[in-house]
């Protein structure tokens, strides 16, 4: 992982990231001996995001532990998706997008110029709101990420496809129809296929932007269960509109409001005894 991203000079955009070269690689106090699992997987510091003149994210700092599930909650338009998409630099395609501050994954600043986007995204997978399988076969969908890496070994690809489909709890349903178009699957199956497709690339972080909002309750339950089990191998961040979902599956919850991070704590704390009045109002449904 150490040098994964820093393979070339692909930084085309210029970010107003003045501190990037100054800040040392180590962010924690060296005197505090932390076990390896306790090291942060993902850290953001003083992050601001602008779309033109509009500020969508205001001064957000947050640290996320490995192998945990973090839920982002908050009313529509508060910046959850914007913030989530910073971690795989998916906002880079928006023409008037600008970001300030620092985001580190495994202690590497992902917004520095040397970062290769392709490498970053192999490490940070993403599942979208609406299931978006490619108009290709089920097999080709899952194999896609491997093929674009230049993997040619058919046996290896087949193995990884099967493994990913098993992990995504879809294998038993599709193993006899791998060559069928992915578009023939139901919505819930399509979303699990999209998860499998992401897993096949073997990322360490998975970003999910309201992955169940387009699905029925049964499919939703299946995917929640799946996400819960993935926690043992992956760091998961999930944006959700559904309070029950956040409280059921996440370890940590971050509440956003108008681009600000209002509160970030253990999920149990947020849902039983939040520090801020705004958080309480939101989770009890008094606004939002």
């Amino acid at each position: 992982m150490e040098s994964l991203f820093i393979l070339g000079t692909n930084g085309k955009k210029n970010y107003n990231n003045t501190m990037s070269e100054i800040m040392t690689e180590k962010t924690e106090d060296p005197k505090i001996e932390t076990p390896i699992e306790e090291k942060y997987k993902l850290q953001t510091k003083d992050v601001n995001v602008f779309y033109g003149d509009f500020q969508a994210i205001k001064d957000v700092s947050m640290n996320i532990k490995p192998r945990s599930i973090t839920a982002f909650i908050g009313p529509s338009g508060c910046g959850k998706s914007t913030f989530l998409r910073l971690f795989n630099r998916m906002n880079d395609y928006i023409e008037d997008f600008k970001m300030e501050g620092k985001i580190k994954i495994d202690d590497i600043n992902i917004y520095k110029k040397k970062i290769q986007l392709e490498q970053l995204r192999k490490e940070v997978g993403m599942v979208f709101q609406k299931p978006n399988p490619f108009p290709k076969s089920i097999f080709e969908n899952v194999a896609y990420g491997l093929k674009i890496q230049g993997i040619k070994d058919k046996k290896l690809i087949a193995q990884r496809v099967e493994k990913a489909l098993v992990q995504a709890d879809l294998w038993s349903e599709v193993k006899d129809n791998l060559n069928k178009s992915a578009l023939t699957l139901s919505g819930g199956q399509q979303q699990r296929l999209c998860i499998a497709r992401t897993l096949a690339v073997e990322p360490s972080i998975i970003l999910m932007d309201e992955p169940t909002s387009a699905l029925d309750p049964i499919s939703t339950a299946k995917i929640e269960e799946l996400i819960y089990h993935l926690k043992k191998d992956y760091t998961i961040i999930i944006v959700t509109h559904n309070m029950q979902q956040a409280s059921r599956i996440s370890d940590y919850t971050a509440f956003f409001y108008m681009g600000e991070l209002i509160e970030f704590d253990k999920t149990k704390k947020i849902f039983t005894n939040p520090e801020k009045k705004r958080t309480e109002n939101y989770i009890t449904g008094r606004f939002g």
Binding site: M90, E118, L120, F128, N132, F134, G145, I148, T198
Partner: protein, 292 residues
């Protein structure tokens, strides 16, 4: 009063629609009747197997193959030029270019198709052919190569504009999914976006072919008027359209067999473009269903 006005407008709209349909049917009828009369004198078998087309000479032959080969040869050259350039432009505009650049360049490109084709024909004859002759001394003054190349340039916007529409219509979700797995822009364009837009791209190519087959002025001016069954792009040939122009402008007698050759050639052309248009219509319909 108002009602009567509405009624008049409605009826006049209806009648212009009916007139259009009637004219179209009339044209097809004339074409079919004259062609039928032609085929009463010339066997269809000869028409499709004879390798000479000399209806205006004393030694008469009525084989459509030389005209057909002239048409297909110039069309093939045109598509070989228009397809790679048009597709590259469409992929660049849809996947790489900034939105503002795309907005200005697309109408400019479409201007290429708005230039009168007689200008292109002239350009092929007096600029492209002499230029190519510097490298290919054996190139005839009239040839299918220059005509085809220039025709290819003319139909670039048919390919680029319609393909670009198809590429641009591919949902943003699919691109993001591809980028999200670590694909480059190039991989995303060729492995996800182009396949997803393939039916639209095929339609654009078919329409471009159809346009090239029907193109008249460029080939009449620059490709020559010598019906010849050949695949050699350096010699004069004649296309179906160029033949029709040649005979229509000449003084063949109305109702004669020579006169009817126009209709036999014309119906061949019509069948080709009709089939191509039907094909593209079918594909387009299917593709529309796919996205809904």
């Amino acid at each position: 009063m108002r009602k009567i006005k509405e009624l008049i407008i409605e009826k006049s709209l209806l009648s212009s629609a009916l007139v259009t349909i009637a004219v179209t049917i009339g044209i097809i009828l004339v074409l079919a009747i004259e062609a039928f009369l032609f085929f009463k004198e010339v066997s269809i078998f000869d028409f499709f197997t004879d390798t000479q087309w000399t209806p205006l000479f004393t030694e008469k032959h009525y084989g459509i193959l030389p005209l057909l080969s002239g048409t297909l040869l110039t069309t093939f050259i045109a598509i070989s030029v228009a397809l790679p350039i048009g597709l590259s432009i469409s992929i660049y505009l849809s996947e790489y270019a900034p939105r503002s650049f795309r907005k200005t360049i697309k109408p400019l490109l479409e201007l290429l198709a708005a230039v009168p084709s007689v200008v292109y024909g002239f350009f092929a004859l007096v600029v492209v052919t002499p230029y190519l002759q510097q490298f290919m001394p054996s190139l005839s003054g009239f040839n299918s190569l220059s005509a085809g190349i220039v025709m290819g340039i003319m139909i670039i916007p048919f390919v680029s504009s319609l393909s670009e529409d198809a590429l641009f219509a591919v949902p943003k979700d699919l691109r993001e999914a591809s980028y999200g797995m670590g694909a480059t822009r190039l991989q995303t364009a060729f492995k996800v976006v182009v396949p997803a837009a393939s039916s639209g791209i095929i339609v654009s190519i078919i329409l471009a072919i159809s346009r090239a087959i029907g193109e008249t002025m460029i080939v009449a001016i620059a490709a020559g008027q010598q019906p010849r069954l050949t695949l050699d792009p350096t010699v004069p040939v004649e296309t179906i359209t160029a033949y029709i122009v040649q005979v229509s402008l000449g003084d063949v007698q109305h109702g004669s067999l020579e006169y009817r050759t126009i209709f036999a050639a014309g119906i061949t052309l019509f069948v080709f473009t009709f089939l191509l248009n039907t094909l593209s219509f079918r594909i387009r319909k299917k593709y529309r269903e796919k996205y809904e």
